[in-house]
Structures are given as structure tokens and as C-alpha cells.
């Protein structure tokens, strides 16, 4: 009896200590900084959190932050996150998110839905200087909420040595030419074509065939259309003929590796492959072409981008927006581009980029008909289930793969609505 009472008393005391600690500390308390306080300019330090592709990117971002501090007098702490999504989420749950951070389109949807992002683009002069595929990726309920920091599109990489050996001329401009060229390029140890076995490597074929992924409002998934079934059937046909292979079939981690090791002569992949080829496969001679059009002549590709996320509730909102303004000038975007190979997001900066790197102009030109990669709030797992099914496309049934993905993604949308 007595010891039970003592335990209860101690537990009560402990919980009392705990609850005061929680309510007074800033650990779990709601942030005391209000947007009214943040609107007045202050010089308090900013935190910039980003996921780095390597030392070149880290150095470039640090340098940009230093230049901003010099100009504005606001110190910036740059944090290269090892797991960006997780670390930003921890910041939000603790009430102290980073002032500015890299944000991918899918996580953007999660945070936009929760209403925690500041819709700063309307206050910046460059907000109309983005291709629609880019600004669309960061538009929530028709409000452009987060400015893209870079741009990527998928294009057709061709190994020119293989190409000449096969005696081929002009690059393929439609699906049947793509199939014919892939057939001619296929040898014993080499597939004609490789693509990544995920929705981000395959969905462009759906758009090229006149299909789509969701309706314009993003409220209804439209994956199980006959156009999409036909597109996947076309890919399945090439897989079964052995003229297209997924990277895992040739022992590569992703399609760019298969292309670099010349286990495939053509590859549909984004411009991040340039850096990969430069550093790991410097001897591969290649050219980049726009993706072939679908049977009805529709041109389409996928675009990928990240944006500069700015939380609404934070210690220095005005300073954070100033930092983004500094980072999204044409000049700064070109500096990043030269340092670590990204394509600028601003139209004006892209014009400079095309002049400096004419061999990569294709990626910029394709932005005109690009569709953003799927991004539905809370859909990571539904998408990875879709990817798992696509991996089995060679032996799978295109209609049922699309039907299952349709149901799973629609369930995610319905749950969030």
C-alpha cells in the first residue's frame, strides 16, 4: 500500500515537473515569434538548411551566404543536412524550423496543406520570371508559394560512338523511330535503351501519348486511362524484345550508370547525368537530344525542381525573404550553375545558361512542354508502391499496374481532403 502510494506521488511529481518544463521551454511550445514581429526588419541570424549534392554545392552555398551577410549585415548559418526532409520536419515539430531551406515539390505539398509556408513570391520582383512547369510545382490552391531554385528536365542521351557504329543518322523524333533505333543499337552485351524504373523515369511516356497523371486541379487521379495503358504497353514491348532494359537488369543502380558503363546506348535521364558522366565516365562520348514525340506528335517531358522554402512562423521572416531574393538573382543562379552544374530557374538566367552551355540547350528548350513530376501531399509510399509495380513491368499487366496506383493515389488525396 505504502509503496504504491509513494510511486504514485513520485509519478505525479515527475509529471508536474515535466509539464512545467514543456510549457515553459521552447522545446514543444508553439513559437513565440509572430509574423507581425517578423515583418519589422531585424538583424537576427538566419539558418539556411539544404541537402547537398557534394562539396562543390556546399562551398557555393556557403559563399553565397557569406556574400549576403556582407551586403545585409545579417549572419547566416549554413547547414548541409544529411537527411533534409527529416531534419526540417524535426525543426517544424520543435517550433524552430530553419529560416530558409531547400524544399522538394512533394514535401512542399505537405507543408502548404498545413499552411506553414510564407507565400513570399508575390513580394519579389522576379516572381513572373519562371517557366510555368516550375512555378506550377510550387503553386498551392492557385497561390505561387515558393520560388524554384533550379530546373531539370529529362532528355535523350545518346552514346555517339555506339550511334556511329550502328550507322544511324538523325536522332529519333517519334516512338517508332526510338524503337527502331533501339533495336539497331542492341548487341549481345548492350541494350539499345535504358530508362529508370520509377514513375519519375517513365511518366513522360504517358504525357507523350496524350495521357496525364492527375486533373489540372490535382483533385482526381487520372492514371488508368487507355492512353496510359497504351504507353506502358509500348514500354513493355521494348522490354520484352530486350531492346530496352531497366538498370537493375544490367546490374546498375540507376539508368545513368548503365549508360556510363555502356550497358545501354541510349538513356532517358535528367541533366544531373552530366556531372555523373564528367566525374565517373569521362571517356564516354555523348550527345543530348529532345525526347521523341508520341504517336500523335505530342511532345512532353518531366521537370524536376526544388524551391527555397520559407516558414511563416520564424524569427526573421523579412531577413529570410531578403536572403531568397539575393539567391534568386540571375547572377547568383549562374554562379551556382557554374559551380555545380544545375540549370538556373529564372528565364533570364536560362538565356545566359544556353549561351554558356549550348550543348545543354535541349534541357531548357524542353521546359516549354514539361510537366512537373507527380507531387501529392502524403503520397511518398503510394508512389513507391507504384515504382515497385513498374519495376515488374516486363512481366506485369500495364492496366492493373495503373489501376492499383490510381486507387492508392486517389485514396491519399481523399484522405487529405
Amino acid at each position: 500500500m505504502r509503496s504504491k502510494f509513494a510511486i504514485a506521488a513520485l509519478a505525479a511529481a515527475g509529471l508536474a515537473v515535466l509539464s512545467t518544463a514543456c510549457s515553459s521551454g521552447n522545446g514543444f511550445g508553439s513559437s513565440s515569434a509572430s509574423s507581425a514581429a517578423a515583418a519589422t526588419p531585424n538583424k537576427s541570424a538566419l539558418t539556411l538548411m539544404f541537402g547537398s549534392s557534394g562539396t562543390a554545392e556546399t562551398a557555393a552555398v556557403q559563399q553565397a551566404a557569406k556574400a549576403f551577410t556582407k551586403q545585409s549585415g545579417i549572419p547566416v548559418q549554413v547547414i548541409a543536412a544529411s537527411n533534409l526532409t527529416q531534419q526540417v520536419a524535426q525543426g517544424f515539430s520543435g517550433g524552430t524550423p530553419p529560416n530558409v531551406f531547400y524544399l522538394d515539390p512533394l514535401t512542399f505539398q505537405n507543408y502548404a496543406k498545413d499552411g506553414v509556408l510564407d507565400a513570399y513570391p508575390s513580394t519579389l520582383p522576379n516572381s513572373s520570371d519562371f517557366a510555368s512547369a516550375l512555378s506550377q510545382a510550387f503553386t498551392y490552391k492557385s497561390t505561387f508559394t515558393c520560388e524554384p531554385k533550379d530546373a531539370s528536365t529529362l532528355a535523350l542521351y545518346v552514346n555517339t560512338t555506339d550511334w556511329q557504329q550502328a550507322g544511324l543518322g538523325a536522332p529519333p523524333s517519334n516512338w517508332s523511330q526510338l524503337e527502331a533505333d533501339a533495336k539497331k543499337l542492341t548487341t549481345g552485351g548492350r541494350a539499345g535503351l535504358t530508362i529508370d524504373q520509377t514513375h519519375s523515369g517513365i511518366d513522360e511516356f504517358l504525357y507523350q501519348n496524350g495521357g496525364t497523371v492527375t486533373n489540372a486541379a490535382g483533385t482526381k487521379v487520372e492514371l488508368d486511362s487507355s492512353q496510359n495503358v497504351a504507353a506502358l504497353t509500348f514500354l513493355k514491348g521494348m522490354l520484352n524484345q530486350g531492346i530496352m532494359k531497366f538498370p537493375s537488369q544490367v546490374g546498375a543502380g540507376f539508368s545513368g550508370q548503365a549508360f556510363g558503363e555502356n550497358k545501354a546506348a541510349m538513356d532517358i535521364i535528367g541533366n544531373w547525368e552530366n556531372g555523373e558522366l564528367e566525374s565517373d565516365y569521362p571517356n564516354v562520348k555523348f550527345k543530348v537530344y529532345p525526347l521523341p514525340a508520341g504517336p500523335s506528335g505530342t511532345h512532353a517531358t518531366l521537370s524536376f525542381t526544388n524551391c527555397w522554402g520559407v516558414p511563416k512562423q520564424q524569427s526573421n521572416l523579412a531577413g529570410a525573404v531578403d536572403l531568397v531574393k539575393f539567391l534568386t538573382t540571375s547572377q547568383q543562379e549562374m554562379t551556382f550553375s557554374k559551380a555545380f552544374g544545375v540549370i538556373p530557374s529564372l528565364n533570364t538566367a536560362q538565356a545566359q545558361y544556353v549561351k554558356t552551355y549550348p550543348q545543354y540547350a535541349t534541357f531548357v528548350q524542353e521546359l516549354a512542354y514539361a510537366h512537373p513530376d507527380i507531387a501529392i501531399a502524403g503520397s511518398t509510399q503510394a508512389l513507391s508502391a507504384f515504382d515497385s509495380a513498374l519495376q515488374q513491368l516486363g512481366s506485369g499487366n500495364p492496366a492493373s499496374i495503373l489501376k492499383t496506383a490510381q486507387q492508392n493515389l486517389q485514396a491519399v488525396i481523399n484522405q487529405g481532403a
Binding site: 509513494a6 514543444f28 526532409t85 517544424f92 498545413d114 508502391a385 492508392n408
Partner: protein
């Protein structure tokens, strides 16, 4: 107050013993109890703050609609009852299916890892404890080495071993075979065996019925080839740790019992079966319990090696809970998965305890 009471206690005549008995807090034993509570108070507070409170918070999150922004106790967070649990347990859909798949994957992981690592640990301990083995210290250290090495380093090492062009496949190639794409192969081992026997499509009874959104045919897939690589890693790293638990228990077996058995004509196997193994039962129970709990909670190897890929065949409930929370920001559902796993481990541990103690009672009578 206390001081007064203490003086009372010392000066009271023996006749007052009855009163003292009714006020046990003030007796010598009572004083000891107070001191005991005071001394253990720091630990109890630490446990409350770092163990009980987070569990209570997670329990709250699992029945709330917290979106990961700010405090889970803020005014905007509502209780949603069992909705998060219902989405996982009763409503057909992707969350339920993924929970089913992760439980299946982890079940095969446990079924293979726990017995094999226990047997291996026991075997290693028996070898290393031999008095006539030269260089015992060296072997003891080298078997324990994998457990001391950081799991990150070990996982990356295994990525190289099990790579498509890795060490293992190079050896298989030298022997004239062709190794699989270990970490990219989602095919279940039992399905591979069945297809070797000519069974490639599921019988209707198995394909059309299932549990937790996974058909019985898929429950019977066995661990995927990728999971086998992770299972090998788990066994390799933990066998040494558990060897260390068996070793002192083996040393504690009095040598006269073994000698007596030898005199009675028992051979090595009989001595192991009738003497060593029964005397190791407490250690065996500890190893099995620790193994069962840690294998059901496997996370770091999955996070480092496969992230649940390929095709979700290395997804485990612990990793699914992480993905649901941090990637999809479904914090309530993520916490619910953690509690379902918690309940499962508690039930299995109690069941294991009952089985082992029942057997012990049966033997004694």
C-alpha cells in the same frame, strides 16, 4: 517533522511498539524506505522524462491528427479516436497492405535470425570455452569484433559484398555459377523454390484470400533475396554479442558434474544435451528474449542498406513507422504503427516466457 519523529522513535519505551507499527514510515525500516525512494528519485525522474513521457506523448499522437507542426498538445490538435489504427488494421488500402507486408518481411527475418544467431552464438561460445583451444583470447575478440563495429560501417561493407559485381558474386562466378542481383531482387525465396518445382502461379484459394491486405500466397513468399542479405548481416553482427552472454554461463557450470557424467559413460553429445543445455537455460532465455525484441525492431540496417526496397520486400514495421511519419507527415499513423509493433512484441515475449517456464515446470515434476 521527520526529525521529531526520529527522536520519538529513539526515546520511546518498548511499550509504544504498537503505535510504531501503525506508523511504519517512522520506523527504522520506514526511514530506509524513504531514503531508498530519495536515492532512486533522480533515476525515476529521468525515466519519467525520457521514457514514460515520450511514450505517453507518442500514445497521444497515435490517436490525434497532429501534423508535425509545433506541439502535439497545442490547441489545433484534435483527438480522432481509433482512426489511425483503423486505417492500418481494418480498412483495406495501401496503409494496411504495407503494414501487412512489413509484418511479413519482419516475421521471416525473425524466424531465421533468432534461431540461427542463437545456435551460432552457443556454438561459438562452446568452441571458445574449450580449455585446450590455443589462442582463445584471439578467437573471443575476433568473434566479438562485428558487434563492436559501428552498424553503419558493417552495412556499407555488406553493400560491397552483396553488390551485383560484389565479392560474393565474384566468388560464385569463379565457381561457375551466376549470383543474383542480391539487393535488387524482390523475389521471395520460397516462391523461387516453388517456381523451381514448377509452381509459378498461385492456387486460387491462396491468391484470393489474405490477411492485412496481403494474399496468403504473398504471405508464403518467404524472405526476398534482398532480405536474405540483410539477414546474413544481422546474424554476423549479433552472434558475437550473444556468445558473450553464453560464455560466463558455460564457465559457471561446475566441472565436477561434467566429470561425473563422463565417469558414468556419457559421450560428448549426451553431456551437451543433458547437462550443458539445461544449465544454460537462463542464458538461453535471455538471448532468445533479447533477440526476439531486437529483431522485431530492426531499423538501422534497413535504413542504410535498402530503405525498404526492392518492391517493399525489406520494409519493416519500424522503418514503415519512420517513413509514414517523416516522409508522408502522417504522424498519427506512424505512431500507431509503433504501438502495434509494441503490442506484438509484448505478446510474443509473454508467450515465449510462458512456453519456457511451462517446459521448466514440466521437467521439474
Amino acid at each position: 517533522m521527520t526529525v521529531l519523529a526520529r527522536q520519538d522513535g529513539r526515546t520511546d519505551p518498548p511499550a509504544a511498539g504498537g503505535i510504531r507499527a501503525r506508523r511504519p514510515l517512522f520506523t527504522a525500516r520506514g526511514r530506509e524506505a524513504v531514503a531508498g525512494w530519495l536515492m532512486s528519485a533522480p533515476v525515476i525522474v529521468l525515466l519519467l522524462v525520457f521514457l514514460v513521457a515520450p511514450i505517453a506523448m507518442a500514445a497521444w499522437v497515435s490517436v490525434s491528427d497532429w501534423n508535425g507542426i509545433g506541439s502535439p498538445f497545442a490547441s489545433g490538435v484534435h483527438a480522432v479516436g481509433g482512426r489511425n489504427y483503423a486505417a492500418l488494421l481494418t480498412q483495406p488500402g495501401l496503409p494496411q497492405q504495407q503494414l501487412g507486408e512489413s509484418l511479413r518481411n519482419n516475421l521471416y527475418y525473425v524466424i531465421i535470425v533468432v534461431p540461427v544467431q542463437t545456435a551460432l552464438a552457443l556454438g561459438l561460445a562452446l568452441i571458445v570455452s574449450r580449455k585446450r583451444l590455443a589462442g582463445r583470447g584471439f578467437f573471443r575478440t575476433s568473434y566479438y569484433f562485428p558487434s563492436m563495429t559501428s552498424s553503419v560501417a558493417v552495412s556499407i561493407l555488406f553493400l560491397y559484398i552483396f553488390g551485383t559485381a560484389g565479392v560474393l558474386n565474384a566468388i560464385i562466378g569463379d565457381l561457375g555459377g551466376q549470383g543474383p542481383n542480391w539487393l535488387d531482387d524482390p523475389n521471395g525465396v520460397l516462391h523461387i523454390v516453388l517456381s523451381g518445382l514448377g509452381v509459378t502461379t498461385a492456387p486460387g484459394a491462396l491468391a484470393n484470400h489474405g490477411f492485412l491486405g496481403v494474399s496468403w500466397w504473398d504471405w508464403l513468399a518467404g524472405p526476398s533475396v534482398a532480405m536474405i542479405a540483410i539477414i546474413a548481416l544481422a546474424i554476423w553482427t549479433t552472434a558475437g554479442t550473444f556468445m558473450l552472454i553464453f560464455l560466463p554461463a558455460i564457465y559457471a557450470i561446475p566441472s565436477d558434474i561434467t566429470e561425473a557424467a563422463t565417469m558414468d559413460g556419457a559421450n560428448a553429445w549426451q553431456r551437451f544435451r543433458r547437462i550443458t543445455l539445461p544449465m544454460l537455460r537462463p542464458a538461453l532465455f535471455l538471448v532468445l528474449t533479447l533477440g526476439l525484441i531486437s529483431t522485431w525492431q530492426v531499423f538501422d540496417q534497413i535504413y542504410l542498406m535498402s530503405q525498404g526496397n526492392p518492391a517493399g520486400t525489406t520494409l519493416t514495421p519500424a522503418f514503415l513507422s519512420y517513413l509514414t511519419s517523416f516522409q508522408d507527415q502522417q504522424w498519427g499513423q506512424g505512431a500507431a504503427i509503433a504501438f502495434i509493433l509494441f503490442a506484438l512484441i509484448v505478446v510474443l515475449t509473454i508467450a515465449q516466457r510462458l512456453i519456457i517456464s511451462e517446459r521448466r515446470a514440466g521437467r521439474a515434476s
